[in-house]
């Protein structure tokens, strides 16, 4: 069974991470290096156990484009998110034996290093992926 693990962040936390001069609190090179090392080890373990299907980190929320209809006409909106809105920041797709095992994997993310105020707010969601096979092959 496949599960998706999702992490969230706001444009604000992205700005802190890349040390934008206007950000209230900027991450130090050590903060940044520590999260990189943690993720590398985390991903490598999932790769070694054969549970990792794929993982990606998403770029800045400000680069988002939203496509929708307005009065029946397709409209593109640049950067639809508010500064502090928590949006998808990255995801993992894992294939494992049980929902509990997927949850266990996601729980390891709580030990990801980072500035305390970021860690206090961080969370990850785990959702089963609907990938059930058709009963017969047409």
């Amino acid at each position: 069974m496949k599960y998706m693990i999702m992490t969230f962040a706001s444009q604000q936390s992205y700005e802190e991470m890349v040390a934008r001069p206007a950000a209230d609190t900027a991450w130090t090179p050590e903060d940044y290096a520590a999260i990189g090392a943690f993720m590398q080890e985390f991903n490598q373990e999932l790769l070694d156990s054969g549970e990792l299907v794929e993982t990606r980190g998403l770029s800045f929320p400000v680069h988002t484009r939203r496509v929708g209809l307005r009065e029946g006409v397709p409209v593109v909106t640049d950067g639809p998110y508010a500064e502090a809105e928590e949006v998808l920041a990255g995801y993992w797709i894992v294939e494992c034996d049980s929902f509990d095992r997927a949850t266990e994997i996601a729980a390891r993310l709580t030990s990801c290093p980072g500035p305390e105020h970021v860690r206090a707010r961080a969370s990850a969601d785990v959702r089963p992926i609907d990938d059930h096979q058709p009963d017969y092959e047409g």
């Binding site: 940044y32 490598q44 980190g57």
Partner: protein, 424 residues
């Protein structure tokens, strides 16, 4: 023999086994699957039972048996579709008037020409080349490009179908077509190398070293065509660029620009080999873009520091390269080199026309170079704006951190200057 030893041996033999199979039976698509399966069997059996006396013979036997099975199960379908195989097995020694090569070298070249056929998309060319010639498994190719295995399988299947449909013979192309096709092969190797080199994108998974794989394949092509100057140039370019890889990233994983790299970390042996190759190729001609880029890389690699680099030489080389390649990235690098010789204003002058070039004017690199030159010319306020523009365009976290660091440094330096000494 260790696991890695076996893997190296298998990957070296892969194109020869596939070549022998296609030569004997045709059916490139099924032969390629059969070869993969033989390689997988060997990777399990050899480390356990020892390497057979004639490893290539063993692989050809196992792959042939597997191919027979595949053909048998494929027969019913084929009969239904009533397709005859469009594969024409041609002995290229009868048609080629080039110097005779060993059959193995021929096979590798024929396979490369086939996998890089212009009717395939670049992504398919790369995937098929890495599997059929490089002997990599689908899983490893998927991991290297951070795509799913299904995607790679689809790309390879589609590529094999296009080859089948196009009826391209399994033979070296005629002299008229050969140079175009060789160009496509070199481009695939160059793209593979660059993908490996741009290691800053995506999570830092343990990736197959694509840069090293590209070097290995370029060596094979160079061994088959030792007199081709662009092949030598591409191999030299890869070696001279890859030689700096240990100095390219800082402790926080960020990119270190060449001017700030610790040059004692550069690989002197690779640099020596690259310089040897390009010095031999250039006088032989004809001069092409890979040789010129290699020559530029060689000048950088020979310099003890950024300041002590032979910039006039680099300016001259970019001047020639710009006549062959109108890419705005070449123009950007040319402007940087000119600024090192004639000063930042001259560089900014060359950048000006690029501001109207839609291929580069929204690119982070354009704004970053402009920012750097503006700062050197003393226009700190404009430099800050340009760094901000560059940071806004950067989608990569590490690049954005680097650019924000430049802005913070400018702000700090400005604060450090006493009020009465600041700009009027």
């Amino acid at each position: 023999m260790t696991g890695t030893g076996t893997e190296d041996l298998l990957r070296r033999l892969a194109p020869h086994v596939l070549g022998a199979l296609v030569r004997r039976y045709g059916h490139f698509d099924l032969a390629e699957d059969a070869t993969q399966e033989a390689l997988v069997s060997a990777s399990v059996q050899w480390p356990r039972d020892g390497v057979p006396e004639n490893p290539k013979g063993w692989l050809i036997t196992v792959a042939s048996r597997r191919l027979t099975d595949l053909l048998r199960s494929d027969q019913a379908r084929r009969r239904r579709e009533e397709t005859v195989t469009r594969w024409a097995v041609v002995d290229e020694r009868g048609t080629s008037d080039g110097p005779p090569h060993a059959a193995d070298t021929d096979d590798t070249l024929v396979l490369l020409f086939l996998c890089c056929h212009p009717s395939l998309s670049a992504a398919s060319q790369i995937a098929l080349t890495l599997r059929a010639v490089g002997g990599l498994t689908t899983a490893k190719i998927a991991r290297a490009f951070l795509v799913s295995e299904e995607t790679v399988t689809r790309r390879i299947t589609r590529a094999k179908r296009s080859i089948l449909d196009s009826g391209i013979p399994f033979a070296l192309p005629g002299p008229a077509e050969a140079s175009d096709r060789l160009g496509a092969v070199l481009r695939v190797l160059y793209l593979t190398f660059n993908e490996g080199y741009a290691s800053t994108i995506g999570p830092n998974l343990q990736r197959v070293d694509l840069a090293e794989e590209a070097v290995r394949l370029a060596r094979t092509v160079h061994a088959a065509l030792p007199g081709d100057s662009e092949v030598a140039g591409l191999l030299a370019l890869m070696l001279l660029t890859h030689a700096r890889h240990r100095a390219r990233s800082g402790p926080d994983g960020g990119l270190v620009p060449m001017a700030e790299q610790d040059r004692s970390l550069w690989d002197r042996e690779a640099i020596g080999e690259g310089i040897g190759l390009v010095s031999e190729a250039l006088p032989r001609g004809p001069t092409g873009p890979y040789q010129l880029q290699a020559a530029i890389a060689a000048v950088h690699d020979e310099a003890p520091s950024a300041e002590a680099t032979d910039w006039p030489q680099i300016v001259a080389l970019y001047g020639v390269l710009r006549q062959l390649d109108d890419s705005p990235v070449v123009a950007l690098n040319h402007a940087v080199a000119v600024s090192m010789v004639e000063g930042p204003e001259a560089g900014l002058g060359l950048l000006a026309p690029l501001a109207d070039d839609p291929r580069i004017n929204a690119d982070r690199r354009f704004h970053a170079v402009r920012a750097h030159l503006l700062e050197q010319s003393g226009n700190v306020a404009a430099a800050r704006d340009a760094y901000e523009a560059a940071a806004r365009q950067a989608t990569n976290l590490q690049q954005r951190r680097y650019l924000n660091g430049q802005i913070a440094r400018l702000d700090q330096e400005r604060r450090a200057v006493p009020k009465d000494a600041s700009r009027p």
